[in-house]
C-alpha cells in the first residue's frame, strides 16, 4: 500500500505551496486597485452578484439614512441611538460581504467543533476585531497622522493581505490534519469490512476481504498524531459523541482563525469612520462601527450555528455503523477544511487580479 507515502507527499506539496506563497508575500502587498475603491479590496471575492435586489436596496437605504443620522447628531445628541440601531441592522445585512470571515468561521466550526457556544464566541470575537481594525486604522491614520485616502488604502491592503494569508495558512493546516484523519477513518472502515467479510456470516459473498496485512495498521504506526483514529476511540460508541464530531479543537487554532478572519477592516466601516471624523464626530463613528460589528456577529454566529447543526444532523443520518459515522465526520471536516483554504486563495487571487 502506498497510502503513507501518498500522505507524506501530499503534506509536502501543501507545505511547499504555502512556503512559496509566503515568500511571494512582499510582491503581493501591492494589490491591484479598482478606481474609487475603499480599503482592503472589498468585493474582491472574485465573482459579483446579489442575493436579492431587495437586500441590496435595503443596504443602500441604510447607508444613506446613517449618513443623515450622523449629520443630525450636530443638533440632537439623541440621534446617536438611532445611529447605533442602524449600524446594527447594517451589520446584520452586511455580514454577507466576502471579506467578513463569515464563511471562514463557519467552515472552521464545521471542520472542528460541535459546541455552539464556541462558534458564537468565535463569530463575536472576529466581528469585534474587525470593528477594532477599522477604528485602529482610521483613528491612527486620520486622527494622528492626518493620512490621505491613498495612504489609508495602502494600510488596509497590508491588513487584508495578512488576513488572506492567515486564512490560507489555517486552511492548509486544517486540510492537512483533517485529510490525515479522513484517511485513517477510511482505513478503519476497510478493516471493519474486511473483518466482517472474513467472518462466516458472509462466506461466499461476491466481495472479498481486502488484504489487511499492511496499510492501515502500518499507517498508524507511522502517524501517531492525535488526529489518527484509534478503533478503540469510536469502535464502541453507539451514539455520536464529541470525540467523533469534533476531534482536535484547540483555542490556539480558534484564536488564529479569529485573527485571520477579523484583521481586515471593512470598507463600510472605514467610510463611516472617516465621514464621522470629517464631521467632527469621530466617537459617534466608533459607536456606529461597533454596532455594525455586533450585527455582523449575529449573522456570522447564525451561520456558525447552522454549520455545526448541519454537521450534527449529517452525523445522525450516518449513524448505525460507528466506523461509517467516523468516516462521514472526517469527510465533512475535510471538505470544510478545503473550503477554508479555497476562501483564502479566492480572496487573495481576487485582490491580486483586482477583480
Amino acid at each position: 500500500m502506498t497510502r503513507p507515502s501518498l500522505i507524506r507527499r501530499l503534506g509536502f506539496g501543501l507545505a511547499s505551496a504555502l512556503f512559496a506563497l509566503m515568500a511571494a508575500a512582499p510582491a503581493l502587498a501591492q494589490f491591484v486597485r479598482r478606481p474609487f475603491e475603499v480599503g482592503g479590496g472589498e468585493g474582491g471575492g472574485g465573482a459579483s452578484g446579489g442575493l436579492t435586489g431587495w437586500l441590496l436596496a435595503e443596504q443602500s437605504q441604510l447607508t444613506h439614512v446613517m449618513v443623515a443620522q450622523v449629520k443630525a447628531l450636530h443638533g440632537d445628541p439623541a440621534a446617536l441611538w438611532g445611529l447605533v440601531g442602524l449600524g446594527f441592522a447594517y451589520g446584520v445585512f452586511h455580514a454577507a460581504g466576502p471579506g467578513h470571515g463569515k464563511a471562514v468561521i463557519a467552515s472552521y466550526m464545521m471542520a472542528n467543533d460541535r459546541a455552539l457556544k464556541r462558534g458564537v464566541v468565535l463569530a463575536f470575537l472576529a466581528a469585534m476585531l474587525q470593528g477594532l481594525a477599522a477604528v485602529a486604522l482610521v483613528g491612527g491614520a486620520a486622527l494622528i497622522f492626518n493620512a490621505t485616502a491613498a495612504q489609508m488604502n495602502r494600510a488596509a491592503d497590508l491588513m487584508a493581505l495578512a488576513s488572506y494569508l492567515g486564512i490560507i495558512a489555517i486552511g492548509a493546516w486544517l486540510a492537512w490534519t483533517k485529510g490525515r484523519a479522513l484517511v485513517a477513518a477510511l482505513g478503519a472502515l476497510r478493516r471493519r469490512r474486511a473483518a466482517i467479510a472474513g467472518g462466516t456470516l458472509y462466506e461466499g459473498a461476491p466481495w472479498r476481504a481486502a488484504p489487511t496485512s499492511n496499510g492501515a495498521t502500518a499507517f498508524r504506526a507511522h502517524a501517531p498524531g492525535e488526529e489518527a483514529i484509534d478503533p478503540a476511540d469510536c469502535g464502541h460508541a453507539h451514539a455520536v459523541d464529541a470525540a467523533a464530531l469534533g476531534a482536535g479543537f484547540s483555542w490556539r487554532g480558534a484564536a488564529a482563525t479569529v485573527v485571520a478572519a477579523g484583521s481586515r477592516p471593512c470598507s463600510g466601516a472605514i467610510l463611516m469612520l472617516v465621514f464621522a471624523f470629517a464631521q467632527g464626530l469621530f466617537a459617534a463613528g466608533v459607536a456606529a462601527t461597533f454596532a455594525m460589528s455586533l450585527g455582523t456577529a449575529v449573522t456570522t454566529g447564525a451561520l456558525a450555528w447552522a454549520a455545526v447543526f448541519a454537521k450534527a444532523l449529517a452525523m445522525r443520518f450516518a449513524a448505525g455503523e460507528d466506523t461509517r459515522v467516523a468516516l462521514a465526520a472526517r469527510g465533512v471536516e475535510f471538505v470544510a477544511a478545503l473550503l477554508v483554504l479555497a476562501f483564502g486563495l479566492a480572496l487573495l487571487m481576487g485582490a491580486q487580479a483586482g477583480a
Partner: protein
C-alpha cells in the same frame, strides 16, 4: 427527516456560495455625460462628470487640505491619476453600444478631481472613441460597475448632453426593467437572469441612456 437535512444542506451551501458572490454598493455616483460628435456627425468622445456621495467625498478629501479649505484639482492630481489610470482595465465603467456592438475607447485624454463648495467630490474624465463611429438609428450608453461596489445613477436634472450632434438626435433615460407587470415567463426569466447571484449584477441594476437619431 432526510429531506429536511437535504434542504438544510442546500440552504447552507447557498449561504456559502452567496458569501463569495455578494457585493453591494459602498460608493454612490451621480453621473452627467456629454457625448461629442465630429463635424461629419460621428460620435467622437464621451466626457463624464461623476459626483460622489458624502461618505466617499470625505474619504477622498481626508488629509489633503487645511481645515476650511477645498481640495483643488492640483492637490487631487495624484488621486485623479490613480483613478483615471485604473479605468481602462475595468472597461471605463462605460458601455457604448451601436447596433448592439460595443465600441472601443482609446486612452483617456483629460481628467481631474476637485472638491465642490458643497464638499462633494467631482471626477471629470474624457474618453475618446478609438475611431469615431456613425451613430446609426440609435445607440445606448450604460455607466455601471459590474461588481456593484459603486452605484452609478444618471443625474436627475442634467443627465446627458449632446454636443454638435446631427440635428434631430434626442436622448432619453431608460430605467432598469421593473419586475412587476411582465408576463409570468419573462418574470421568471428575469428573476433568474437578474436576481440570481451571477456576474455583471451592476449592469442589471443600471439605467441606460438611449440616443435616437433620424
Amino acid at each position: 427527516m432526510k429531506r429536511a437535512a437535504l434542504r438544510l444542506a442546500l440552504a447552507l451551501g447557498a449561504c456559502l456560495a452567496a458569501t463569495a458572490a455578494f457585493a453591494h454598493p459602498h460608493v454612490w455616483v451621480s453621473v452627467r455625460s456629454q457625448i461629442a460628435f465630429t463635424p461629419d456627425g460621428k460620435i467622437a468622445s464621451l466626457a463624464h462628470d461623476w459626483v460622489f456621495d458624502e461618505m466617499y467625498s470625505s474619504f477622498a478629501t481626508q488629509g489633503l487640505a487645511k481645515p476650511g479649505q477645498l481640495v483643488t484639482r492640483d492637490i487631487f492630481a495624484p488621486l485623479a491619476q490613480e483613478n483615471a489610470g485604473g479605468l481602462a482595465q475595468i472597461g471605463y465603467f462605460t458601455t457604448l453600444k451601436i447596433n448592439g456592438k460595443s465600441v472601443d475607447f482609446g486612452p483617456v485624454t483629460d481628467y481631474w478631481m476637485e472638491e465642490r463648495p458643497d464638499h462633494l467630490v467631482t471626477f471629470h474624465v474624457v474618453l475618446p472613441l478609438k475611431t469615431p463611429v456613425a451613430p446609426g438609428r440609435y445607440f445606448s450608453l450604460l455607466v455601471a460597475d459590474p461588481e456593484y461596489f459603486i452605484d452609478f445613477e444618471f443625474d436627475d436634472k442634467d443627465p446627458i448632453a449632446l454636443v454638435s450632434a446631427p440635428s434631430g438626435c434626442t436622448a432619453s433615460i431608460a430605467k432598469p426593467k421593473p419586475l412587476e407587470g411582465e408576463d409570468p415567463k419573462t418574470l421568471s426569466e428575469s428573476f433568474f437572469t437578474g436576481l440570481a447571484p451571477g456576474m455583471n449584477f451592476g449592469f442589471k441594476m443600471a439605467s441606460r441612456v438611449i440616443v435616437a437619431c433620424p
